[in-house]
């Protein structure tokens, strides 16, 4: 964060987010958590895993779990004929994890003052995965709670 702050100029009250789109939602993730961005990769499906788990990808010899942001937010899967989703790879203590999103947008500098509490009328399953909402000129930016995403338990049943 400190490096990101310094890059943002005076460094006070600015946060940097990598932004992306999921269905009609404009979302962001702390830039410092992002390792890399990838185009759609062919995935290996994991039988018996929860629907949130889209599959596994081979990232230069490392096996990375891909979580489907649409499923996490309880949205319908991508329909046929729509553009292929993209991967945002984030790093964590337990190795990288990839988030599947519809479209990757810009990196934005956002003043902290723009933050507002999460509106109460969002469905609880979505609120759970959100850290906050920022009011920007171009609309509302929903920032996801990275730690909660990493803590997903991807097993459907425990034998």
């Amino acid at each position: 964060m400190s490096a990101a702050d310094a890059a943002a100029g005076n460094g006070v009250g600015i946060r940097q987010f990598a932004t992306f789109r999921v269905a009609d939602m404009f979302m962001g993730i702390e830039l410092a958590r992002v390792q890399e961005l990838l185009r759609y990769q062919e995935m290996t499906w994991v039988p018996l895993a929860a629907p949130m788990i889209a599959g596994l990808i081979n990232l230069r010899g490392q096996i990375v779990t891909v979580v489907d942001m649409r499923r996490i937010l309880g949205l319908a899967p991508v329909a046929d004929g729509e553009a292929l989703p993209m991967n945002i790879v984030i790093h964590s203590d337990g190795g990288p994890v990839s988030i599947l999103v519809d479209e990757i947008c810009d990196v934005l500098d956002v003043p902290i003052e723009a933050s507002t509490p999460i509106p109460a009328n969002l469905p609880p399953e979505q609120r759970e995965f959100l850290e906050g909402v920022y009011q920007l000129g171009c609309g509302l930016l929903l920032v996801i709670r990275t730690e909660r995403i990493l803590a997903i338990d991807g097993s459907l049943i425990t034998p």
Binding site: T44, L48, V67, G94, G95
Partner: protein, 588 residues
């Protein structure tokens, strides 16, 4: 900082030296006049003393100094090597170990100056030679005087603290050179491929072939660098057995065969505790007391033999004793008494099956609980730990002649042989008609055999009881499980005429896994799954196949549990062990 590096080296070398010292001293007791052995012990102590002086560790210095003098008397034939002297030497080694551990942890020798041990050493020394005592005593005094000054120097070295010895490995320089050469060749091959963009297919093919060869050699080389001789663990055993034998009042000798057999470092770490437990068992229940042995016409000395040898990609470890053996009848009645096995089942058991009961949780045949063993938490933990690393344990025994525990473990964990299988399904709605092929890998360790049934023959050999299917396999009913159904894949193969059964074994239960296609066996690199998928017990990990795609590695015990072939509640059995047993148990 450079100083810290040297300190680390000192710690590693000292720990290596001490491990050898333990073994040599015990060996010395058997052959008190072996001058080579005395020389070796003397040298190790001397090196330790020198290094301690260099780093200003005065307690260490003075202890090793007197011990060295004492040994000097033995070497110069001024005294005999008595058992008391050996015990004193061994406790000296223990103290040195404790001090070294302290240095490793906090950078100084610690508050305890072990005056009592030094007094005992000096006492022993004086009884050997009055004249030399003066010098030694002066040495002791000087050591104590310097002890306080050592602080600041030692603190310098404390920067890198943790477990220097277990996180490092010694590699042969020749091997390292070879690896470096291979990396050089790898770069050459890469250049060749990069530059051959316009070249013809033959050149590229040649370069690829070379690349293939280099990668394989590089892989083998790196794996070799991780290998350690099993002797690293065994070195500790003669000393442990000596202590145990003294504690239970028996006479036991240890013989080691094949100490140079090499295993991957991670495996060595994993078998350390189970091995110690088995040896402890052999000392405590295996070998009889001297009187009992003499009464049976055996030599009063019991023998424990440890053997290690390679066999088909696996390493076999055998722990044999020439003790009383295990009585299958007693095991059966114990198991029945504890409610582990129904009485009628026990009556039908073969001798081998009965012996294997010792691996059940909660079974111990020792009549009384000793501090060493007999709480019945041991053997099942040994089995679980060995199976965790893909190994297997077996036991054979002959009454009055002795028993042998045989452990079979893979040489390495990171790369295992496995069988690739596939199931077809129509999960993917997007791709429509084309069925998906899902590849999985079954570890070779679980594999028993492959069965392919074709045509009408198939119908006859498959029996059904309600939903459950069985295959008549060598006179037994082998439960069948369809991999696609277990994993919840909508199977798309219509009732074809071919049935592929992979006969596997999980937790002592054999069952048949029905798959759509059997590919081939290959060596696979095991990679862990992310923590999001850790709860899925049916996978042991994943691997990357030759085409760059990922295949999941099946965890057969997990699969068997999903298919309800083995009971679900394995975990709850483990937890039901009484906590105090688990804490105080002989294991560990």
């Amino acid at each position: 900082m450079e100083f810290a590096e040297e300190m680390r080296e000192f710690l590693i070398e000292s720990n290596d030296g001490l491990a050898a010292l333990d073994r040599d001293i015990v060996e010395l007791e058997k052959h008190p006049t072996d001058e080579l052995l005395i020389g070796s012990v003397f040298r190790t102590l001397h090196t330790l003393k020198g290094a301690s002086g260099f780093f200003g560790f005065s307690i260490l210095g003075s202890i090793t100094h007197i011990a060295e003098n004492l040994l000097g008397q033995v070497r110069d034939k001024q005294r005999n090597l008595t058992p008391e002297l050996v015990s004193l030497m061994l406790s000296t080694v223990d103290v040195v170990k404790a001090v070294l551990a302290n240095i490793e942890e906090c950078g100084h020798e610690g508050a305890d100056d072990y005056q009592e041990l030094r007094d005992r050493l000096a006492e022993m020394f004086r009884s050997g030679s009055e004249a030399m005592f003066e010098a030694a005593a002066a040495e002791v005094e000087r050591g104590t005087a310097i002890a306080d000054e050592a602080g600041p120097v030692a603190e310098l070295a404390a920067s890198k603290g943790s477990l220097a010895s277990s996180s490092t490995i010694r590699v042969d320089v020749n091997l390292l050179d070879k690896l470096m050469n291979l990396v050089g060749e790898l770069v050459l091959a890469q250049n060749q491929i990069v530059q051959s963009g316009t070249a013809n297919a033959v050149t590229i093919h040649g370069a690829l072939q070379r690349l293939n060869l280099i990668t394989r050699e590089l892989h083998e080389g790196v794996m070799r660098a991780r290998m350690q001789p099993i002797g690293v663990v065994w070195n500790k055993l003669p000393r442990a057995v000596r202590d145990l034998a003294a504690a239970v009042g028996k006479k036991i000798e240890v013989h080691l065969e094949g100490a140079e057999t090499e295993l991957d470092k991670t495996i060595i770490e994993a078998i350390k505790d189970p091995l110690m437990h088995l040896v402890r068992n052999a000392c405590d229940h295996g070998i009889e007391s001297c009187e009992a042995r003499v009464a049976q016409g055996k030599s009063p000395h019991g023998t424990i033999l440890l053997r290690a040898y390679h066999e088909g990609g696996y390493v076999n470890l055998e722990i044999s004793d020439d003790g009383a053996g295990i009585d299958p009848q007693r095991i059966k009645s114990k198991a029945v008494q504890r409610g582990l096995v129904p009485r009628e089942r026990a009556a039908q058991m073969s001798e081998w099956e009965a012996l294997r009961l010792i691996f059940l949780p909660g079974l111990s045949t020792a009549e009384k609980v000793t501090p060493i063993s007999g709480r019945g938490v041991g053997m099942d933990v040994v089995r679980t730990n060995i199976e965790k690393i893909g190994g297997a344990v077996d036991v054979t025994s002959r009454a009055g002649v002795g028993s042998t525990i045989k452990i079979k473990i893979p040489m390495t964990l990171a790369i295992i042989p496995g069988l690739a299988v596939s199931v077809h399904s129509t999960r993917n709605i997007v791709s429509g008609a084309m069925p998906d092929e899902h590849r999985f890998v079954i570890p070779q360790a679980n594999l028993l055999e492959l069965v392919r049934l074709e045509g009408p023959e198939r119908r006859k050999q498959i029996d059904r009881i309600h939903e459950a299917e069985f295959y008549r396999w060598r006179g037994k009913l082998l439960p069948l499980a369809h991999l696609s159904r277990i994993l919840g894949l909508p199977s798309c193969t219509s009732e074809s005429d071919v049935l592929n059964i992979v006969v596997v074994k999980a937790e002592e239960t054999a069952f048949g896994l029905v798959v759509d296609q059997i590919d081939d066996t290959q060596k696979i690199v095991v990679k862990a799954l992310g923590k999001q998928l850790k709860e899925l017990r049916c996978y042991a990990g994943a691997t990357i196949m030759g085409d760059g795609k990922i295949a999941l590695i099946l965890d057969l015990p997990g699969v068997a549990r999903l298919a309800r072939i083995v009971p679900q509640a394995k975990e709850s059995v483990d937890e039901s062990l009484e906590p105090e047993q688990a804490a105080a148990g002989g294991w560990r």
